[in-house]
Symmetry: C3
Amino acid sequence: MITTIGVNSRAGCEFIDITAEIKKIIAEANIHSGVCHMYVPHTTAGVTINEGADPDVRRDIIAALDRVFPVDGDYRHAEGNSDAHIKATLTGSSAVVFVEDGKPVLGTWQAIYFCEYDGPRKRKLMVRIVQDR
Amino acid sequence: MITTIGVNSRAGCEFIDITAEIKKIIAEANIHSGVCHMYVPHTTAGVTINEGADPDVRRDIIAALDRVFPVDGDYRHAEGNSDAHIKATLTGSSAVVFVEDGKPVLGTWQAIYFCEYDGPRKRKLMVRIVQDR
Amino acid sequence: MITTIGVNSRAGCEFIDITAEIKKIIAEANIHSGVCHMYVPHTTAGVTINEGADPDVRRDIIAALDRVFPVDGDYRHAEGNSDAHIKATLTGSSAVVFVEDGKPVLGTWQAIYFCEYDGPRKRKLMVRIVQDR
């Protein structure tokens, strides 16, 4: 079963913490242990796992990617969002977390982020859990 | 079961659309729903999911990676393809798509690309589908 | 079942070859075929698959990432390791290899690396194998 969550971004580039939503989906799936796959069906967004404590970490990742792959680069794609496509490929369109006792197995400092690179937009993220035998 | 497809690249850096091949493998696997894993057994190539409509998107991703990680950088690896190894790690050696009704669940603009970073070469991509219980 | 391996890094940035450990875990799992997931529960480290033959490849990847995302950049995160968080997101917190005949299906030149970006530290990598039906 695929569960889809909606994500509304409010900025051009923004990492949105979706850890609580993923925890809820895993809890409601009633699966003891397995692998939880998260998938972004967009081409200018991604999903990553990184620090959840200090918001400056997210800010620094976004700023560094902007510096190296600026919005106004030497691009041919006419829509003006080539930087977002580049960042999407570098971040990746999917991520996994392991599930144990009906909960995601995250490290102490880890949070799950939907990575918006061409917002603000209404976005989706799809989740499927592969259960252990 | 692992299904292997051959990919023949014709340029040094090239994103090759393999969406049709992946669709065919999924259809022939006769699996209703699950997770389709794609794996690149090379160290100077990768796999990514990005826009399929405008070829300039692919061109812009490749050009941006070339600008930031140039072929002629300050490298020690004697084979002269360190940039390709770097791009391979940043792209990733695997990707997933969900399977539903015997088809990949892709977003409207998504296509699956084999990313050649040190071509032209004869390459392989391996596919395994984990079926839902 | 999740199997956890310990990784002790000895440098600030270091790719540590964990191929032998992963092979051992797969062999001991007594699973004929499936997908082996590797997961890093840290926010300044990652996991990648790249060339195992020439150590200069690892050196060149690390040096290129350091050049583009330097330790002393224009960052706000007070801990001084923003570059490591950036590299972690670009590398990814997970990787997969297929399993066949109780062994990982790796390409000729492929090795599996734990990517330390903020060492030296005692680290962990978690492994779960999803068995084919």
